[in-house]
Amino acid sequence: MKDAFRQSMAWVHTWAGILAGTVLYFMFLTGTAGYFDTEIGYWMRPEVPPRAAEVPTAQAVALGLRRLEAQAPNAERWILYPPSGRDVPELTVFWRTLPDADGNVTSRSEVLDRVTGAPLAARATGGGETLYQMHYLLRYLPSRTAYWIVGLCTMLMLVAIVTGVITHKRIFRDFFTFRPGKGQRSWLDAHNVLSVLALPFHLMITYSGLVFFCFTYMPLIVSAAYGAGEANRQAFFDEVFRRPGSAERAGVAAPLASLADMTAEAERRWGSGQIRSIDVRHPGDANARVTFTRAHVTPTSNGDRLTFDGVSGRLLEESLAPPSGPMLVNDTLLSLHEGLFAGPVLRWLYFLSGLAGTAMVGTGLVLWTAKRRKQRGAHPGLALVERLNVGTVAGLPAAVAAYFWANRLLPTDLAARAAWEVHVLFIVWAALLAWAALRPLRRAWIEELTLAAALCALLPVLNALTTDRHLGASLPAGDWALAGFDLAMLGFGATLGAVAYRLARRTHAPEGAAAAQSDGEARGTPSAEPA
């Protein structure tokens, strides 16, 4: 009875994994890169000077305000992000205009020099943000379609995690077990260890990922209480997410009160350098509202806000925590997922856990084909998955590296340059999927892993040839955000290269001998304890 249950769970685990595996691998890889989106963006904009001297927040706010007044006097909304450490390294402004005569609305953001207030000129690039956004928006799809695909795959991931834990009968006994060089058994060991040791992360990231779009996935819950239709849906969002103190546009002009005074008040309450953003609604209107949000310091601190009347400058509302229990749970889960509160050490741990997740999906995909081939021999479905695996597990890292190559090699005056960086990623991925379909399987693995290794490892060389921001400059300057990118790429290159090398060496050994050896080991290992 117990074994029958376990076997049926193993079946569910296998199929949930294989159905969603390719998309999940893409989501894990790009999402993991997202934990360093700011640092990647810094590397991808080599024209931006290294972080200059700290400036007082008030001074940065004044510069940002001047730019917004000049660029967008008729705005519905302004947002200022004073430089506040890792997350917002440079002064950034955003504006959305009021609808013009044709009803068109323009939204723009600019990164400004924190000393002069002039826009920082840099090549057009998607940076780390685009890479990170792809993990939930995918690409070339309407966002709603993407959310549903991502949601379905995430749900299958959650199913795979739960059934995987049930299926893994020696979860404690094999807690530390990794036996290399034993073919399929080694892959299974690696898959188990990567899954179990980072299990808290895997569960958190998957479950919170679903929470992000729960109103898309479960629209009926809203409809049940508010009624069907878009208007009722909007009423729900207004009630749940709208912060107290907000107001409609009055349509009467009135000058904006001193942002400097409000900034001083916020810093008095929170301490200096703690302001994450200043959101000005209806600037220049009698109902202007100014909301300050605090930098994320813990997973539960993202509710801290101060709302001022934008004309009188009076403090209207101070909200320290989310207004309700469910909201706190919601905010905490999302905050855990994004990890904005994480300092350098915790950020690297998030990144490591993300890599473990990527490798968990990758090893799972490889295991499926290894097991099938042993049990049933070759057939078209197996061949399809085998090729898809090569083109994804080895091909996608190569394609992401190609995205960075494109950043350095595409001409800076190319139209739609940022979009082309992404096109390069998908063109390379498609080409490697095709390559995997055309080559003998083992050769394809070795070739694509070697290519991925070379693209990663040579990236610091390309960086040195095309910019003056290479390791020779960033290391002596102690610019770890920049040097870290190049060093990490060297590390990925070495790891991928080592896998390719091992695979190539085993291929040269007599095929029959290798197979007999691994079979014998799989059957006769002394560690095959009774369950």
């Binding site: 006994r173 530390f176 813990t298 915790l346 856990s353």
Partner: protein, 109 residues
């Protein structure tokens, strides 16, 4: 302090790992005596607890716990992938790591 917590977590996992028959054999060529296994396991869990304490000493509660979970993952993965390739080094790090980290923390004041 994070380094101390990481090395304590690593040492804790190593002790728990050594309490298991397969890994004790792998390192020392024989299974552990029952009493040895029990005390290794107890030491291991105490060390993992000390790692949590080190995290909570430096960080606010929720962040400290998250950091600890992350460090456990990192320490566990390091141990598991080091063990088959360099068992002696893997065991040596469990002793040397916390000592070095504690000295470094003490030197830094």
């Amino acid at each position: 302090m994070s380094a101390l917590a990481l090395t304590l977590a690593y040492a804790g996992f190593t002790a728990v790992c050594l309490a298991m028959e397969r890994h004790h054999r792998q390192l020392l060529g024989r299974p552990p005596a029952r009493r040895t296994a029990t005390s290794l396991r107890a030491t291991g869990f105490v060390l993992l607890g000390l790692a949590l304490a080190a995290c909570l000493l430096t960080y606010d509660g929720s962040v400290g716990v998250i950091l600890w979970l992350g460090l456990l993952t990192a320490a566990g993965l390091a141990l598991v992938f080091l063990l088959p390739y360099a068992p002696r080094l893997a065991a040596g790090l469990a002793v040397g790591g916390p000592v070095a980290a504690a000295l470094a923390a003490w030197a830094a004041g």
